[in-house]
């Protein structure tokens, strides 16, 4: 038994450690200008970036433009990233900033066709109708930008409150206030839709 404990312990952390080391090497190569290494980084995060951009901006074409800009900026400023910190919040922060910039240039948040960008429908689609989905997306687009960013990052992207605060560059108290207000607005919208 005494021998098994360290063996189990090692097996539980090794994959994560390997992944971190592998990613660190990818980063180094990308910083040095290796495009294929950067392509691998894109593959890892493109879905997350594009989803967030779409939920922030509402229009598929804007979301794609924003995602493109996010990765170009990431390539440009990769050398500034601190390898000791998690990469995803850094990239999400960049995404939020790019969406903010793009939102100022193209302020019309329109969600003409929620299915324009999404290819698959999850199992929950059977549970709630297309109508309810539209209500939710409408409620989302009616939120102020900061509340939208906070609630999307927390409730849909699944970041912790602390991570959301870091991404948005605000305090945890502010994020809690934003997400609670947004949740109440969404609840009201859902309730209105049910009536």
């Amino acid at each position: 038994m005494e021998l098994r404990v360290p063996a189990l312990w090692m097996s539980s952390i090794e994959p994560e450690a390997d992944a971190k080391a592998e990613f660190a090497v990818l980063l180094q190569r990308a910083v040095a200008g290796d495009v294929s290494a950067f392509e691998q980084i894109i593959v890892r995060y493109e879905r997350r970036v594009l989803s967030l951009a779409w939920r922030m901006l509402g229009r598929p074409e804007d979301a794609q433009d924003a995602s493109q800009e996010v990765f170009l900026r990431a390539f440009r400023y990769l050398h500034r990233f601190d390898p000791g910190r998690p990469f995803e919040p850094w990239l999400m922060k960049m995404t939020v900033n790019v969406c903010h910039d793009l939102g100022k240039k193209r302020p019309q948040y329109t969600l003409l066709d929620p299915d324009a960008l999404w290819s698959t429908r999850g199992p929950h689609d059977e549970l709630h109708s297309q109508e309810q989905k539209e209500i939710l997306y409408k409620a989302l687009r009616e939120l102020p930008e900061k509340e939208r960013a906070a609630v999307v990052l927390r409730d849909i992207e699944g970041f912790s409150t602390a991570e959301v605060a870091e991404i948005l560059g605000s305090s945890e108290a502010t994020v809690r206030s934003q997400i609670s207000t947004a949740r109440l607005k969404i609840r009201k919208a859902v309730k209105r839709g049910q009536q």
Partner: protein, 196 residues
């Protein structure tokens, strides 16, 4: 709602965003407050619906399109890592520094006042026995370039006095031209070399 807990507290509670102590208090409160309980139930339902939007996944075509655009931009060298641009930035800064230093050193070169010597005859009745003196005026170069005009002018001094014999005493007028064309300094020197 007229409770000690706000709607925002309940909205945080349903997703576990309250501190454990406060969450425990809200949990106890919900047991006897029907209004808060109803709100919590509504919020749980709307949050379940809202979080189901996670199931929407981005199409592969959209992802491929973005990736292709990004890689194309990078490969066509329209985007370079910022470290690469540092080389150009550093070279530019060094070039600007060299140019700046050159201009500064040019500006600091001391321009000495121009000295013009004018000898005016003085009637012999005024000074009878005084020997005529002619002043040679030399200037002392100042190492400090930024010396104001007056200070530089004050450094101009006669260095030799030549006795010219028993001729009529004369006054020497030294005219100093400064950098500023509006400022001309006249210096009257008597036979002994002192300023009048």
């Amino acid at each position: 709602m007229n409770c000690i807990y706000s709607e925002n507290d309940i909205a945080l509670f349903v997703e576990g965003d309250l501190a454990p102590e406060k969450a425990g208090e809200v949990q106890e409160h919900l047991e006897f407050c029907a209004a808060c309980r109803e709100l919590a139930t509504d919020l749980q339902q709307s949050q379940t619906a809202f979080k189901s939007l996670r199931q929407d996944t981005v199409s592969t075509a959209a992802l491929l399109s973005v990736r292709a655009r990004v890689l194309s931009e990078i490969r066509e060298s329209r985007v370079k890592p910022a470290w690469g641009r540092w080389i150009y930035a550093t070279a530019g800064a060094m070039f600007a520094a060299v140019i700046g230093l050159g201009i500064a050193s040019q500006m600091r070169t001391p321009s000495l006042p121009q000295v013009q010597q004018v000898v005016l005859p003085v009637p012999p009745t005024q000074r009878t026995v005084a020997p005529q003196l002619s002043a040679s005026v030399a200037t002392e170069r100042s190492s400090s370039a930024a010396t104001p005009v007056r200070a530089r002018a004050s450094r101009t001094r006669p260095v030799t006095l030549v006795k010219a014999g028993n001729e009529a005493p004369r006054q020497t007028v030294v005219k100093l031209f400064t950098d500023d064309p509006n400022i001309v300094i006249y210096w009257l020197i008597d036979q002994t070399g002192g300023a009048l």
